[in-house]
Amino acid sequence: MEENGSLFLSSSSSSAQQRLRIIAGHLQKRPEDENASVAAQECKAEAPRSEPSSATPVPRRRQEIMKWNGWGYSDSRFLFNKKGQAEFTGKRYRLSGLILPSLKDWFEGTFGANLQHRSPATPSLNLSAVAPPNLNQPFVEDLKAAGLTVSHDPEDRVFRAHGHCLHEVFALREGRIGRVPDTVVWPSCHSDVEKIVELACEHNVCLIPYGGGTSVSSALECPREESRSIVSLDTSQMSRILWIDEKNLTAHVEAGIIGQDLERQLNERGFCTGHEPDSMEFSSLGGWVATRASGMKKNIYGNIEDLVVHIKMVTPRGVIEKSCLGPRMSTGPDIHHFILGSEGTLGVVTEVTLKIRPIPEYQKYGSVVFPNFQQGVACLREVARQRCAPASIRLMDNEQFQFGEFCFFLILLSFFCFDPQHLCVATLLFEGDRGKVLQHEKQVYDIAAKFGGLAAGEDNGQRGYMLTFVIAYLRDLGMDYYVIGESFETSVPWDRVLDLCRNVKERIVRECKERGVQFPPLSTSRVTQTYDAGACVYFYFAFNYRGLSDPVHVYEQVEHAAREEILANGGSLSHHHGVGKLRKEWMKESVSGVGLGMLKSVKEYVDPQNIFGNRNLL
């Protein structure tokens, strides 16, 4: 697919094409409207799309192209072929169709897994396992009367009952289906949402907004205690770019659009948002706003809170929005910050005005190998101190380096006299105009050299970023062979980064041992973002669960312990995954009782009936 190609643009050869596209975008738009290139549209579901080339939203029946019980597209998955070699199917990714000979050895060596011991998933959804919908008939009839698309199909409902937490996917693979939404409704514009929310209030049903479904905080789980009819409000059909303002460099976009579509459509016009969370293939703009998402290239473009200029949200009390598009305001506490991170508890984000940027002229990947993790962290800290972080800079620890090595890092590192048991690697991405990128690159490599870092080439950098997009597919492969795992993240002041990584990793190993995990777990960390005052740290954790009667429970206990350890070591509850229901128990500790009370009182005012009853956060 082309959109993935664009993610991995690296060579100077493609920059010329990009420039052409930028120019073409300018030429296209100019005759239309001299004033502000505004293409305002009437909201009508049946109205013909003005840009047919880019107007193919995620289908209503997502299960037709995506896995119902795993990550991503149905056609893309890892498997071990008959020769025992790993391969990645499909045609979508750069890795697609490739054979990865060393993955098997790494997999068996790291987890003590064996290709003979399989734990296959239930092949298809057993429809009888899905409870019949608890319908609020008058509500459904009113929805239909309003011309909205509604479904009670079990497959549709099951698809929207989960995110991608381990326990959620594991249950699906075993064919266990818990409480699922009773109805799915697809609004196609802001006023549709207003209608739905109004009816929901009238008939007292529970609404759960659904964007891309990539949550890893149990945010989409239907609360067990909810007795009302649960309606999943799928925003996927609200995916248009409503206008682009080239003078102010802003775009007004419907919140259901998914990351890759937004970026592709903007690219066609010569722009980008630069917001690239790892989930951008599937996650939606509204979801980013509702969870305070962070993108890989935030060093240039900022996190979601820096990108939004205006947000429109439908709440049971009505629509909340600001009255102008001023870049900053002093009008009391910023109401956007009630919306950002509200996790679907207050309403549905319908439209967002975002900052956009011209597509960068030049992009260059890079990588640096450090003798050990300490040196790597010290280098990142120095880069942050000098405020010269590239668009993205990430540091993998040694375990993760060894993991990445199976298919990516083919260089002979022994040449550098680094101990392969300690070395770690940083991947870099530079963006901007060519001269500046090269200058910037030199500056960063010079700093790295001071910490014993050696440049290890563009390819390795690029492969490192590619790994990000396939890692979730790898989890599915693991689950076919008794290996379960997950990632979680935190943010932490600079001086605590090393201590936190070491302590959390060791805590994970120890907890696994104490809980009877037979094989040493994979417990790795990486620094994925740098800030002035600290860094974002990611942990990957996986283990072989053969011999455990309740592996998911063990997993959850270990993750719980790891989170306790993170908090005890000065890490935050979450950098960008959000709280959901998974991390709710620590909210009070994290924001103080008063803080929690403030949030509760907002909820109380905005949604007294608890229509948005997903029970996240509070």
Partner: protein, 658 residues
């Protein structure tokens, strides 16, 4: 017992192996040691960090403070050198060979330590009864190829010419005995210790009790250093820290009579090299065996679980020293007590300890036969209460006793099958009655230091036994109240974990019930018919302390003038007690012990029966005579059963005081 088997390694054998060992140890240690000089330099680099907060508070320039910090560091830092260590090992192995028949070490403890050192930074917490303690620790670790510890030693050692420097080069670093107000000193010191710990250069060794116990009773632990070594864990700088309690016991203590004299007010000679040389005389005597028991490593992480919220350290930069919060302080105190109790429990006891206990209870002496009989009885009681007794299995009881008596003959007179504690080496010509009393007191206090080693075994049942005597009824809550009162009264005297009174009570009940001494019913505690002798023995274990505290309170009530200063207190009480003894009104020589007197005063201060008032630069003691009187009455009830109502009134007083 089997699980705690000791391996007796004769010193001689050690010595023969020495030359091989040195070569071997050289190879293993040098790697470790080569880091150390660079450590001090590295640490100097950190001084700026420490000085900044201090200088901004005091207003002095940063350079000025840094300079001062550097001087403190010079005074404090160790300079571990392998050559010095080798010299020490060589000399010590000779000395130890002459002093001790054998040095016994639990080798599985050494193995555990080896394991622990690999996992996390280790803090060694030996008990402190003698100067020998840390020399022996370093010697043993060297012999077993373990990393040599750096030791927090009192400043008084440093004033010893040459030896101070030698100790420094064998890994001691020196701390001032008191530096309460000196923030910079505290900052440099704590950072110094923490940096060593964090970098895992060497195990840290210090004494929880802070100083040598002159009485062989464990002392109330100090928490300052414990906080310092735990802080890197609290602040997330270390995943865990292993605390290894080490119990060192001596069949005969080198400083035995020295301590007794010190307790009687003959001042401790200042540590000096010539003093050490004079101590050579010591080398010619037989000190029996020495025991070193390395306990199970205690993980700070598991110790703090559910008790410390580490996130409280999140909001300050970690280089800024932080006073422990109230709950941290409580935790530290509790942890320190528990560690000292582990030390106590692992302390190896010799038969002599039992004999000394019996001889002290029979000041007029005992026949050898009844001594043998009672020792055997006591042995079984002690074992039932969990004492860690090293009793030679295959020898007859009388044989064991005569061996013990021989080793401690300087405290005894044995004639015609009758044993008595008595002065043996004093001049036969009695000079003055006072001197005679002091001579006898030296013997009694020396002997008491052996009895004290087993007190922790009998303490809780003994408190219960006394409580049963003094309670108005057999009702469980009455007995518990008395128990609790005594426990409070004596909490400066013995190791009683704060807040554990219910557990202690239950433990005492359980032990005595198991022995068939008591029957504990739902609301009543009843003595069994056969339990009388055990209860009598147990209450007389505490008798010297009850009497001693009564003497102190009587003194406070009767003798005191209005402006009694803190300094005058000890000599004044001693005189008071001496007069009572000379007048024949007091038989208990232990009342002369300054340790007991200090503890009693501390208890009265804690119970607010006495107040400290600062007048000018002197601290005077203000006595609430009514309160002291009533406390005395209550204590008096346990040996003299008069004053029926005093108990209740004093309990009321006590409650008010609390």
């Amino acid at each position: 017992m089997a699980s705690r088997a000791l391996y007796s390694v004769s010193v001689l054998q050690h010595f023969c192996m020495l030359s091989d060992k040195i070569l071997h140890a050289c190879n293993t240690c040098s790697v470790n040691l080569s880091l150390l000089p660079s450590f001090n330099i590295f640490f100097r680099g950190n001084i700026k960090h420490i000085s900044c907060p201090v200088s901004s508070e005091s207003g002095d320039s940063t350079e000025c403070v840094a300079e001062e910090a550097s001087l403190i560091l010079d005074e404090m830092a160790h300079r571990l050198q392998l050559s010095t260590v080798r010299f020490f090992v060589f000399t010590l192995s000779k000395a130890f060979k002459r002093l001790f028949r054998s040095v016994c070490v639990n080798e599985e403890g050494i193995q555990r330590l080896q394991q622990a050192v690999q996992e996390h930074p280790v803090v060694l917490l030996p008990s402190h009864r003698s100067y020998m303690d840390f020399l022996m620790m370093s010697y043993l670790l060297y012999m077993y190829d373990l990393p040599l510890p750096v030791i927090a030693a009192g400043m008084d050692f440093m004033s010893m010419k040459f030896v101070g420097e030698m100790l420094r080069m064998s890994g001691a670093f020196f701390i001032r005995r008191s530096f309460g107000g000196d923030k910079l000193y505290w900052a440099v010191f704590s950072e110094y210790v923490k940096t060593m710990l964090r970098n895992g250069y060497a195990p840290i060794e210090f004494f929880l009790e802070g100083t040598r116990s002159r009485t062989c009773k464990s002392l109330t632990p100090k928490t300052g250093l414990l906080n310092i070594v735990m802080e890197p864990f609290f602040k997330g700088e270390l995943f865990d820290v292993n605390l290894v309690p080490v119990s060192i016991s001596y069949e005969r203590i080198l400083e035995e009579s020295l301590y007794a004299r010190e307790l009687l007010g003959i001042p401790k000679p200042k540590e000096s090299t010539s003093g050490l040389l004079k101590a050579r005389r010591v080398l010619s005597e037989d000190y029996g065996s020495m025991y070193v028991y390395f306990g199970h490593p205690v993980s700070v992480r598991s110790l703090t679980e559910g008790k410390i919220t580490r996130s409280q350290y999140n909001l300050l930069p970690r280089c800024i020293p932080q006073k422990p919060s109230a709950d941290t302080h409580e935790f530290l105190n509790d942890a320190a007590f528990r560690l000292v109790r582990i030390q106590e429990e692992n302390m190896v006891l010799k038969p002599w300890v039992l004999i000394a206990t019996l001889l002290l209870q029979n000041p007029d002496g005992m026949d050898l036969s009844s001594l043998a009989e009672q020792t055997d009885w006591l042995r079984h009681l002690a074992l039932a209460f969990g004492a860690y007794l090293d009793w030679p299995d295959h020898e007859a009881c009388s044989e064991v006793i005569s061996c013990s008596l021989a080793l401690h003959r300087h405290l005894l007179s044995v004639s015609a099958g009758h044993v008595q504690l008595s002065v043996t080496d004093a001049p036969q010509v009695e000079s003055t009655p006072e001197e005679a009393v002091f001579h006898q007191a030296v013997v009694v206090l020396s002997c008491a230091s052996y009895r004290n080693q087993i007190l922790h075994v009998f303490l809780r049942p003994a408190l219960l036994a006394v409580a049963m005597q003094s309670a108005n009824s057999n009702r469980k809550d009455d007995v518990y109240n008395c128990f609790n009162f005594l426990r409070n009264m004596f909490s400066n005297e013995f190791i009683l974990c704060p807040g554990d009174s219910v557990q202690d009570f239950e433990e005492a009940c359980y032990l005595l019930m198991k022995r068939g001494v008591l029957q504990v019913l739902e609301h009543e505690i009843v003595m069994s018919a056969s339990g009388h002798s055990t209860l009598a023995f147990l209450s007389s274990v505490l008798d010297p302390f009850l009497q001693g505290y009564q003497v102190v309170s009587r003194y406070l009530c009767e003798e005191t003038n209005e402006n009694l200063t803190e300094k005058e207190f000890i000599p004044a009480v001693r005189n008071f007690a001496l007069k009572l003894i000379l007048a024949g009104r007091l038989k208990c020589y232990e009342a002369l012990s300054s340790d007991l007197q200090k503890n009693a005063l501390a208890a009265f201060l804690r119970l607010k029966a006495v107040r400290k008032v600062k007048v000018g630069d002197q601290v005077t003691l203000k006595v609430n005579k009514i309160a002291v009187n009533s406390l005395e009455d209550t204590l008096g009830k346990s040996d003299v059963t008069s004053h029926q109502n005093s108990w209740c009134s004093s309990m009321a007083m006590f409650e008010i005081a609390i």
